[in-house]
């Protein structure tokens, strides 16, 4: 399967890694491990797809790969259709969401971005301290069955959550800016390695910051659900 140069499993004609179908016999090809989601969705190296275009491409490729259309074909073709359509579904799910898209890019660039909470960003220290204190006070008020204070704290925390969500929106638009710069740089020709590194670093920074805030919001919302 990974022999070089690649040939069609059926007619032995030469096949390029990005070919979904054999250029000669038009049969569906097995999935190459090296291909990434961006290439698969015909985005090349781009980071900022037009949402409508992305959906159209997803639908176009779905029509080409979906197992429903391979029911009468050979076992090999059915297997490859399953491989390609499940890969396509994963690719679309990841790429259509900006945060998952950025995380996937970072993974391709060799970063291991997991959901874990890292160090508290310095400019958030005060607010994190305050939120944690209020969460703690809320638990205590609940234990004392002091409903008046609990309700006040809850309102305060929900106010914090609203502010945090506003921050998330700002971060999202900053992330969108990075995607734009990335694509603009590609449009100019080959992206200089230094610039690529800077943009990747910026994405990494935004994502860590974002997941930190996201976790805080979730803590508050979880507490709020408990309270109800």
């Amino acid at each position: 399967m990974f022999s070089n140069p690649m040939v069609c499993w059926s007619c032995r004609h030469t096949v390029a890694p990005q070919d979904h179908f054999c250029p000669s016999c038009h049969r569906i090809q097995p999935l190459e491990e090296e291909i990434n989601y961006f290439q698969f969705l015909s985005l090349g190296d781009r980071m900022n797809p037009v949402p409508g275009d992305l959906e159209r491409e997803f639908h176009r490729l779905s029509r080409l790969f979906h197992p429903d259309y391979y029911n009468l074909r050979s076992p090999e073709e059915r297997k490859f259709s399953l491989e390609r359509s499940s890969f396509l579904n994963g690719a679309y799910r990841t790429v259509r969401d900006p945060v998952m898209r950025a995380r996937y890019r970072l993974k391709l660039e060799g970063f291991n971005v997991d959901e874990e909470r890292g160090k508290t960003p310095p400019d958030l220290l005060m607010e994190v301290f305050e939120i944690n204190e209020q969460l703690e006070e809320l638990s205590q008020a609940e234990n004392r069955r002091d409903l008046t204070q609990a309700s006040q704290l809850r309102d305060k925390l929900l106010g914090q959550a609203v502010r945090m969500k506003e921050r998330l929106r700002v971060l999202d638009s900053e992330l969108a800016e990075v995607f734009k710069s990335w694509d603009a740089s590609l449009d100019d020709g080959v992206m200089p390695e230094l610039q690529r590194q800077q943009l990747v670093a910026r994405m990494h920074e935004l994502l860590s910051y974002r997941s930190y805030i996201r976790n805080l919001v979730e803590d508050i919302e979880e507490k709020d659900r408990e309270w109800e």
Binding site: H59, R63, P67, Y69, N89, G90, Y92
Partner: protein, 607 residues
């Protein structure tokens, strides 16, 4: 390429459909009705009865008549305790991963019982097309888990059908609607059936039906409304007549079935009338009660409310507010209830569509999907999702999610495993479905054991395991060790349901039983023919012509009668037939004589 039929295997009714000239049509049942009640009855004389013939036996032999078997599919005995309080049949105490229904001295699993219904539908289609039906698309509730889907597939296999696709009911309905209206936009399908509730939100664009989110409750439906009404009658009987019905004795079970029949007809009437009368005839008195629609509505409000939370969650998962929807479609018999329609309208803030018959629309959609799989139409494509997240148990009983709910299927995930002990040659993987954090709160799906790993120091092997949910929503798992490239062998222990071997064995046995059933029918038919000729011979031997026979001829007839009577005692249909032929031959002359007299007397009368 034979005909592929679409089957809606429902809790209350089942039906099959096919495509004729591009349009889906329902296959009429063998008794002429379009709906085949999902009821199977085991009659000692007539054998297995399905559909309306079986419904009639609910009042006569409730413990040998099985309905709502769909509620038992893919479930363990613990899951169905509440149902068993209502159902007149019993389940075996030996049931473990799969429920076993006791009928006389035999036991049947839910897939076997469903197979009887599927066979009946296939036979109706065979009668219609005059050819063998071997392929089908079968629908299931969208919120069915892996075990429930697998059980449905097993049922198809046991019915001799190659199940080309397990299709979600609300999505099937959307296909039928899409075909009918050719409209694009965002659609919510609200499907409240006999035993299950589903809500799905789809985006329809350029012939692509993309499911964005689905939610539901596989234990919520019209059956639960029936139980509420039965409870009402039961409580009143206790107060007014001091009768307590627990369903323990046969008479009580029959009474409960009478009550069930009466409350169902009242429920149906209340969809179009303001009041209904519940009348139950018991042997020594008649129970009567008037039920107003407002009483009925306040009684069932909690059930209707239970459908609304899944709807809200589904909207949230789709990233929609009610205003983003272009249409709401109602499916399932219980959506005829005015209160259900009102609540749906309030939640989604628009009048729901009810143009297509809510009992038929799922089967019609299944036929459309059958057409797609048969390569006969490529203008439509369904992109469905998996309703529940798939995960594996990790240290501390915590679930690590691999495929999130509402992921488009087919969907796959690859996870790497390693060993913890030097020389370890197998790894256990516990796969679960559900949204909760802890393994114990989710549905256990199966335990996989990776075996035959090359012995290496702890942590060195890198076993890559691929989890694949196919277009049926059913999981398969494959694995290979990355360092050696060796395929790892996997032993699967499903937590609920039948193993492949068990299905094979049942299939084999059902063929054996079918042969035995066929032989028994031949015996019965030959005995019936023997009865006819024996009584005719008896009459002939008493006629005046018998005296005119030679002694030897008379003896030959009596000898042939004796040997037929002897063969009659045995169970060899061919022997009985041979003896009938012999007796026929021996009485040929006598029959001629009698015939002559009859002809002559007829001539005389004419003179």
């Amino acid at each position: 390429m034979g005909i592929i039929i679409g089957i809606d295997l429902g809790t209350t009714n089942s039906l099959a459909a096919y495509i004729r000239e591009g349009k889906p049509q329902i296959v009429p049942g063998r008794d002429g009705n379009l709906l085949v009640p999902s009821v199977v009855s085991f009659d000692e004389k007539q054998g297995v009865l399905v559909g309306n013939a079986a419904v009639n036996r609910l009042l006569i032999e409730p413990e040998r008549t099985i309905y709502s078997v769909k509620r038992l599919m893919g479930r363990g005995p613990e899951d169905v305790k509440e149902d068993m309080k209502w159902l007149p049949y019993a389940i075996s105490p030996e049931s473990s991963q799969v429920v076993r229904v006791v009928v006389g001295d035999r036991q049947y699993t839910p897939p076997e019982l469903s197979a009887f219904i599927l066979k009946e539908l296939a036979r109706s289609a065979e009668k219609l097309f005059n050819q063998k039906i071997t392929q089908a698309v079968i629908t299931v509730p969208a919120y069915f888990n892996d075990a429930q889907r697998q059980a449905t597939k097993d049922a198809g296999k046991l019915a001799g059908l190659d199940v080309l696709r397990i299709l979600n009911e609300p999505t099937a309905a959307s296909l039928a609607y899409g075909l009918d209206r050719k409209k694009e936009g965002n659609i919510a399908v609200y499907d409240l059936g006999g035993g299950t509730f589903d809500i799905s939100i789809l985006k329809v664009r350029g012939g692509i039906f993309e499911v964005l989110a689905t939610n539901g409750d596989t234990h919520l439906g019209g059956d639960d409304i029936d139980h509420l009404l039965m409870n009402l009658v039961r409580d009143e009987l206790k107060i007014s007549h001091g009768i307590e019905l627990t369903g323990r004795t046969r008479t009580e079970r029959e009474f409960l079935q009478k009550i069930r029949k009466a409350v169902i007809s009242a429920k149906h009437r209340l969809s179009s009338h303001e009041t209904a009368r519940i009348t139950v005839d018991f042997s020594d008195f008649t129970y009567q009660r008037e039920l107003r629609r407002d009483e009925f509505e306040s009684l069932i409000e909690p059930i209707v409310q239970r459908t609304l939370d899944p709807c809200r969650r589904c909207l949230r998962d789709a990233g929609f507010s009610p205003g983003d929807l272009d249409e709401v479609v109602l499916v399932g018999g219980a959506t005829r209830i005015p209160l259900v329609r009102r609540r749906v309208e309030e939640l989604f803030r628009r009048k729901p569509h009810t143009e297509l018959n809510p009992d038929e629309v799922v089967a019609l959609g299944a036929a459309v999907q059958a057409d797609i799989l048969g390569g006969l139409r490529q203008d439509m494509l369904l992109l469905d999702v998996t309703p529940l997240s798939l995960g594996i148990e990790t240290i501390g009983g915590v679930v690590s999610k691999l495929i999130l709910r509402n992921s488009t299927i087919p969907a796959s995930a690859v996870e790497e495993f390693t060993t913890f002990v030097d020389g370890q040659t197998s790894v256990d993987i516990h796969v679960l479905q559900g949204e909760r954090e802890l393994a114990k709160d989710n549905r256990s799906l199966a335990r996989f054991q990776l075996k035959g790993l090359p012995p290496m120091p702890a942590g060195v092997p890198r076993i890559s395991v691929r989890f694949l949910i196919d277009a049926n929503g059913i999981l398969s798992v494959s694995a290979h060790e990355k360092r050696t490239g060796k395929e790892a062998s996997i032993e699967v222990k499903p937590s609920y349901g039948l193993t492949d071997e068990e299905v094979e064995k049942m299939l084999f046995e059902s063929i054996e039983f079918a042969e035995e059933d066929f032989r028994m029918r031949q015996v019965i038919e030959s005995r019936n023919d023997a009865d006819t000729i024996l009584s005719a011979t008896q009459q002939a031997l008493e006629s005046p012509e018998a005296a005119m026979l030679e002694e030897a001829e008379g003896q030959r007839i009596r000898g042939a009668v004796a040997s037929l009577q002897k063969a009659y005692q045995g169970e060899d249909p061919k022997l009985i037939r041979d003896r009938i032929d012999e007796l026929n031959e021996a009485t040929l002359h006598l029959a001629e004589l009698i015939m002559n007299r009859a002809v002559q007397s007829a001539l005389k009368q004419n003179d």
